[in-house]
Symmetry: D2
Subunit: 354 residues, 4 copies
């Protein structure tokens, strides 16, 4: 199985299933001498944690990270950082009902097709629980990035959409409400809608926007590892993501080049920023901003028909504690993946000149 690693120099490799004893990972490539703020790491874990508010899953997970290596006397040593997040909430549940059935729009069917059998307890490796390791690594990457600021927020839930550009928002308010939308009125509207959807046992999608400021010019590698291409890979690797756009994005399609081009100021900054801070795959020093679309998660608290391994139609009843809308808890995950991309390119940029 490929695909458990992310990054070129700053490289995260993760392991773990939703119902194993623990998940964890190894973060390689962090230079020696970085003083780590371990509380900041835990803070990001808490932002991702189940049970943090009324509109997210009520599952209880402590999500305490344990570090095993690569840190000495409070500083990174340059050696790989191994860590574990124990699954404190594995219930010895009865899985018989889903053992032989395929839940719609889950990975059950494709895992069986690919591997011949699967760990049927919950989503196994395909569960979004895996992202807990990314949040740990991303929190370290943020510290490596110094004053580069990565701010993600919820900009859409269902059809409730924040129309303002990010420059008109006070992003410091993002954490002030459980939806993580920096506009308090919109946040309230979104929250009410999520609660209503939850009551129906249903789920709904959303969009997370992300703004990265204070990025030095020169990050990103031409051709196949363009900065925005790696961001797209990073975002689409997050569970439930269906789309990515940066800068002018899909709307830019309709513009004329004469409107879309970002004219230079004498200092190299640009008057407009349809480029989204990236030209030719390389940061130009302006803000990087992008949108990430999340589908409604597939796990419903409703009854539905599906099939078993033999193709026989069976009825399943969704139960348990699931997120009616995934975007509030995905905000720190988006930030973490963005941080991993940028910190990796920051290290790579040390290699571009003689």
């Amino acid at each position: 199985m490929a695909g458990n690693s992310f990054g070129t120099i700053l490289k995260l490799t993760t392991f773990g299933e939703s119902h194993g004893e623990a998940l964890g990972g190894i973060l390689e490539g962090c230079p020696a001498g970085l003083e780590l703020d371990l509380q900041a790491i835990q803070r990001d874990l808490d932002r991702r944690r189940p049970g943090q508010s009324a509109i997210v899953t009520q599952r209880k997970e402590a999500d305490q990270v344990q570090f095993y290596s690569g840190i000495f006397e409070g500083k990174t040593t340059g050696t790989p950082i191994g860590f574990l997040i124990p699954n404190t909430n594995q219930k010895s549940r009865d899985y018989t009902h889903i053992k032989e059935t395929y839940r719609p729009s889950h990975a059950d069917y494709v895992y069986d097709q690919k591997y011949g059998f699967r760990d049927y307890r919950g989503g196994g490796r395909s569960s979004a629980r895996e992202t807990v390791s990314r949040v740990v690594a991303g929190a370290i990457a943020k510290q490596l990035l110094g004053n580069v600021e990565i701010q993600a927020y919820v900009s859409q839930v269902g059809s409730i959409k924040l129309q303002k550009p990010y420059e008109d928002l006070d992003l410091s308010k993002t954490e002030s409400n459980p939806v993580r939308c920096p506009d308090p009125e919109m946040a309230a509207e979104m929250e009410a809608y999520i609660k209503q959807v939850r009551k129906q046992g249903d789920t709904v999608g959303g969009v997370i926007s992300c703004v990265v400021s204070n990025v030095p010019a020169g990050l990103g590698e031409p051709v196949f590892d363009k900065l925005h291409a790696r961001l797209a890979l990073a975002m689409l690797s997050i569970n439930a993501v269906k789309g990515f756009e940066y800068g002018s994005g899909f709307d830019g399609v309709q513009m004329l080049g004469s409107d879309h081009n970002d004219a230079f100021n004498p200092d190299g900054s640009t008057r407009s920023n349809f480029s989204g801070g990236i030209q030719g795959g390389i940061s130009n020093g302006m803000d990087i901003y992008f949108n990430v679309a999340f589908k409604p998660v597939a796990t419903l608290l409703q009854q539905y028909d599906t099939i078993d391994r033999e193709g026989k139609v069976v009825q399943l009843q969704g139960k348990g504690r699931h997120d009616p809308c995934v975007v509030p808890r995905a905000v720190p995950i988006v930030e973490a993946m963005a941080a991993l991309v940028l910190a990796d390119f920051k290290l790579l940029s040390r290699l571009s000149k003689l």
Copy 2:
């Protein structure tokens, strides 16, 4: 410089600048014994070639590929396939005017920031001319994929947008017009609009949609190398691309889970396909479909103000032969990159079971 390679097993590494003597690449990982149809490769190159119609750049490039290795008696040998595409159209032009200036929304400025200096003749490595190597490799990947069918087409130019889903289109008509839109009426409208934009010395964006059929279930690797995440990386690595969405995409955000979930048929196929043929990052056997947004290209045939290396404002006059809208010529590039992703995963899928 990282970022010149694409793929894990089937791996393409490219080299070359727009104004060098030649571009080329090495394709590794193609298994031995594949009978190659060299004319099919050239056909895809011709679909990408400048000068093929009135609405694309009138630059003359023969774009004839020369193979140097890895093919013997008409079949791949399992060794790396080295190839070259000579630049027949390098003019010994005078570049003095752009040598010291930064064209807006080009990579000039960021290359200088990153590397300290740059090959100022045309776009250098950042030119879309680099994609010629991808088309060669992608055409081989298509042959490796056997009956997997990859069909890209233009679905939007400026605000002229094909509203029909792909199932209602006759994709065999894509090549019947210079826009590469399978709906002849819309194609004519798009073509007229592109001509009008060109007359103004301006450019406009567009969307390419792509459908992949006959994909076996089980392609894609969980977590960081999800099938759709690699497709996103592939597409965003193409010049001028600003966004990617697959399946329900950005529109799916507004749906409820109960509507979005794809119920199973007894044979494992699904009644709807909002998943876009991919669940948990792994193909499920249904059609894969996705959209790719292209911005209006930055090179205008107009006069404009910009800055030079010292930050002094200077005037530039765009001239030469450029594409008013990049999407018609980008269709084979989208296909090539999709083919590289899928063929790579097809090879990787040999490794998933004992």
Copy 3:
């Protein structure tokens, strides 16, 4: 920091320092469906374990591996196998004396040069204790290899050298003595010599030979990843190794080609085997055999002069529990690394033909 991973498809990434809470790793790429014999894994760990005999270090380490993922109902699932080996023997010792000093022929000095500071408790990441993770992964690789048999043994200690070729030895006797030399008389001689060296507080080097049988033809990748080149990388990555030779090795230098060439039998096997089972970097089905040279380990139980960080001469007194000769305990490590190389190539060989 690069260099924590080994392998292309079957890939081991390790973390951990000698005096951290635990060491561990992630093994990726093991296909789904392999029934794992966990006791066989522990058995190899026990062969590497300190304290197993009178001629190895008397340090007490339980070396019990804990698996966290990738195994379900006794079988590999195709997802990454995460594991931990707790360090049960970390003493809260006083390290003040070595904190500021550089032990000769250890990695203390170079770590400080490279990273600016170091985890000074024992060898940190440079300790041979890291190989515990390799033995776990290698034991899984052995099971993946099926009937391929990997047999390492001690063929030299100091100047006491087994003169017989491996064909004349009964390799089933290797484990019958603490030296792991299959010739009981030589083993006794070696054991006596090691005891004498230990009494002096000194150390001595040795050679491990390894024979791999039942290897199918076709393993190995031409050019840079030749089978023997990867074996060399694997072996030289083991602590204290100074040399590697395979087949005729350094002695083959003196032979004439007409003597050295291995004439074919009609079935494709060869009459002699100076090639060591590998031609052009690819296995030919004959036995693979190679030698690995280990230097005398640097940790002495003697008093010696050395320098501190300021270059001042200081006296150190080696103490504690160290191996007088590393080769007996390194036998399972050599096997583990050989298994990782061969299993990786076995998986890669699935990709060579259409």
Copy 4:
């Protein structure tokens, strides 16, 4: 096919067969701004070239490298350097006699086993002609290394062995004789012996020693990518190599630790250098030195029995122009591979500290 790339940051990927139109490669990762001495590159190619003296193959190959990218106005641009070396000497020979037969100790048999068929014209991809690309890339790596000095020389031919340590040799004399042995008397003896072997239509092996001076401390990555482990991989990837040892090597096995340990001088240098300039896989600033054993090449100008694809015994008559002893021409190849290893680690060392 894996295995066509070498290096992590400074990465060479090669393609080409002995009897194709050209061989070549792509060198990635060379930082921008390196002023290239193209004549120095050609000089190393000439040192490797056939026909340069009476004791090497009399095949005529111009071996002129053509660069296609990555160099502008005499300096590297940071983009990949693509290059080609045309095969000027492909004769349209009759290969019928070897098409269906397997030459002993060649890669013919294993290629057929691995790939199902092979390019039977000469050695194809397994030919040492592939190393021409390495010499090009290695010559660039040397320039990147600045004042790091890499000096390889022939220290043994057959049983004629230079007994002096490298410190007692005048390495500036290496190029003064066709054998590339810095001791003129030994060189003459070796030359006479090679001529005698050639007269018999036979071949003989040899050893190349290599000394690297002025290496800064801190190069190399712990654990799997130890500096000496990567050197071993590099050397064993060269055709005909059977063994590698560094520092005290196989002889060090017999030493006691108290003799083998390299005591420090106050400045961090060491009084002895049994470590070979590397401790724990990381350079310590002392000279790095190592030996590489080459077998007698398999191509004889004699008649011999062998088998064909059906296992039938057939007679072959070796003819043509082959090297009776490969080491004189392999000297620049050893240097090139060493340079690639060291330059790669030099770049990686920029990433070790904050």
